[in-house]
């Protein structure tokens, strides 16, 4: 298992929105998808995930509805809203600019 990395401050919202871009998911599935997509490098602090989901729902970026998981458990499923898609684009652009700037700094001699 590769060493785990902490999420950067402010990046959790971006990652959650990205996870929800194609499919509606419940909280555990979001955490799992993030881990899978990052090859188990990024581990979301489970205690931070739900406050973040509530915050995104409060801002209208995701919708939440109760449903049943394939395992037959009652779960709360989150779906990306139009507003959330726009937000994802914005955050993605910000992240691109941020990482570019960080890379430039690191490449400097």
């Amino acid at each position: 298992m590769p060493p785990r990395a902490d999420l950067l401050q402010g990046s959790l919202d971006l990652l959650i929105l990205k996870c929800l871009l194609n499919d509606p998911l419940h909280g555990w599935a979001i955490a799992k998808r993030l881990r899978d997509w990052s090859s188990e490098v990024l581990e979301v602090n489970q205690g931070s995930l739900y406050p973040a989901l509530y915050r995104l729902e409060e801002r209208g970026w995701v919708d939440a509805a109760w449903g049943v998981s394939p395992e037959g458990r009652k779960v709360k499923v989150y779906t990306l809203t139009k507003l959330g898609r726009r937000q994802l684009d914005e955050e993605r652009e910000q992240w691109r600019r941020f990482s570019l700037a960080v890379n430039q700094v690191l490449r400097a001699t």
Binding site: Q46, G47, Y50
Partner: protein, 872 residues
Amino acid sequence: MDEEIASHLAFAEYELIAQGVPPDEARRRARLAFGGVQQVRETAMSDRAFAWLDDLGRDLRQSARQLARAPFATAALMGTAGLGIAGVTMIFSFVNSVWLKPLPYEVDAQLSSVRSVSPDRFVQEVTTRRIAEAALPTLRQLGRTAMYAEGTVRLTVGDSAMNAYRTRIDTATLGVLRLTPIAGRLPTAAEYAQSASVALLSQELWDVLPDTARVLDSTQIMLDGVPHRVIGLMQAGLRFHERSYVWTPLRPQDEWVGFVIRRDATVSADSVGGLLAGRTFVAAEPGALDTSRARWRLMAAPMHDRGVRPQTVGAAAFFFLITALVLIVTAANVATQIFARTVRRRHELATCAALGATSSRLARRLFAEYAWIGLGAGMVGVIGAQLSVQAVLASIPRQGFPGWLSFSVDWRIFLFAVALTAATIVLIGAMPAREGSRADPLQAMREGGGLGITSRGVRRRGARLLELQLALSMVLVTMSVLAVGAYRTLSQVEHDARDAERIDAFAFSIGEDAPDSTRIRLIDEIKAAPDVRAVADLAVHGPARAVRWPSSQRDPASRTSSEWTPRKGEPLRFYSLSDTTAPLGAGRVSRPAVRVVDDTFFALDGRPVRHGRLFDASTEISAHIPMVVSEDYAAIVWPSGQAVGSIVRVGRDGPTAQVVGVVRARMRARSQIVTSVIAPEPEVFLPSTIGVRMQPSLRLQLRTDAATLRRILTHELARHTDAFSFSRLETLTERDTLALLPMRITASVLAWSATIVVAIAAVGLYGLAAQAALARRSELGIRLALGATESQVTGMVVREMLRLTLGGAVLGLIGTVAAGYWMLGAMPISVSMVLVVWTLTITGLTTVLFLTCWVPVRRVARAAPADVLRAL
């Protein structure tokens, strides 16, 4: 959210089990990985838009549970704060209704009343119509001027009748006072000019009329037997000198009138004084018997100084002081209990802080508790304020309730008291909240440390506050008991003035417009009534009241009352009987009350002859009018004892009178709010055969009960209402009750205030003693285990508690001495009464102190030593 987290944990657990972790371990690891569920929940909720509402609800729920864990302490805190609110509301509502509530008409700096003052400025009163008419042109230079006349009137509607205050008004009166009817209309100019029989009624009087009799401009009421049409309604509770219920046009024959002036903007109060100073408006007529009135002056005073309210400054300040005392005791008590709560909860606060509760969170929780306490105190206060006002009202007879007093709970004052108490709670509570939230958790967990508030420190601070409560309670209890004692003394004096034979005596006044012949006929008829044992014809004159004197009677012929009839249209002159000054000993001035009485009066009033003789019905008036004087008057004027046979002049230029006898003096109680005196009343008596009288009244001795005779008299008097007006049919007991009403109100308000303050102080002491006993539980347990007896242990703690309050007792003693000294000068109380009250107060409060300490300490000490030590 709980369900969602549970689902998350189940997924995590399932994944771990799938990896081969045993189920129990999987559950443990899943929870560990998730972290604090409660923290996650709080973080998630805090981001929501209405998170503060959730927080508030949670804080309120938690603090309610916290308060419910100590129900007695919570009830005590709510109860004492509530009692304080009730007490402050009750007393301040009283102060407000008596002194502060704005008068219903516009009293501003431009409104003045003008009265007549005697040459020595000793007497002020309404002025005679003759002077009024002469002064009117001058007064009108100052501003809009109105005349009015006041008095009582017998109002009859259908079968029901009542006495009511009536104000007769001229065309300008209501305009000057800026009053308008709330319904109907004002009298027209023609109605004013003709003194038409139309009336304005107050709303409260209108409301008690039968429904069928309530049609404006059609309803007929009888005023002193004369039918009047009701044309308009005035607002309820109007006070114009006295509460006025009926307003009718002024008549030319109204003899005594007052002025009210709304000065022009350019006219200052000083310029009014300047204009009136030194001016007389009526020249003495050559040959007139009465010349004294010509020397009277007119004097203007601001309307609010016109005696609308009793003893404005001193009495109001006194009750402000009482309000402050109750407020201080309440605040001190609340502070004591809040400190005690802090000590009990220091571990809990420290634990919360150690578990990560933020300082704002802890402060919010404590303030939520204070909000609950405030709410409970407010509810107790609402009920307490209503009950205490009702209690005071119940102790005041409704009959003759003074016009200036409309006493009810003032809700603005209630809210003020609640706000003040809440502020006290928050201010005092803020300290433990702040300290608790900043405490170092580790240190705070240690006994007695951390919050900076040790048990001993709290007890010391609590004891100081308790001393304050104790001292103030002692002062208030002493004052209230002395006030009740003063009231009882006053009552006794009035009661002793009448012997048992005459306790059902009636007195009633007859309107001054009653022709003598009719009045004498009425007296004869009443004397003949089977239930009447005796009738005294009595004309009461206060000091310096003028007496009407027919000009034809300058040299009164020998006539008895049944023969004398005034000639129609005969002009009346005025004597000021206060000028009845004989050669006075050592230059002292004496102003006797002058009473014109018949021969029955002395027996009926219990006035045995000390020297000389009385006059009787057959007394002839020859060269000198026969005069009887009271013992104290005789002692002042003729200190050498030569009263009988002395000759004095009635009025400066009036006829002469010769003293024929001296009778027993009467002690009279004079009661005002806060102050009252008992003093002999210097009196001179003139025979009714002189045919002059003011404010005539009859005094009856009955064979039957007062209620029966009231019905008979009402019926009898109603037959004569076409001839004259009469009013104030009342028993002497009712009259005395009315006279002592101000002192009774003072005693009642003080007694209820003292009850509230003692209750608050007792609860405070109980709480402090209970807290002290609980804090020393371990020590007491060890002492008991080592063989000390229950009574030894209890005695030890109680002695310590009482020692803590010693300073308060000393302070209270100084306060009670000062209060007693002041009340000795203000009320009819004796030094022995003060000493008895001190002894009783100290004994009573010491007993209360002892019991409130002993009961909680005893409860702790009675626990078995083993239980006590096990609970440590």
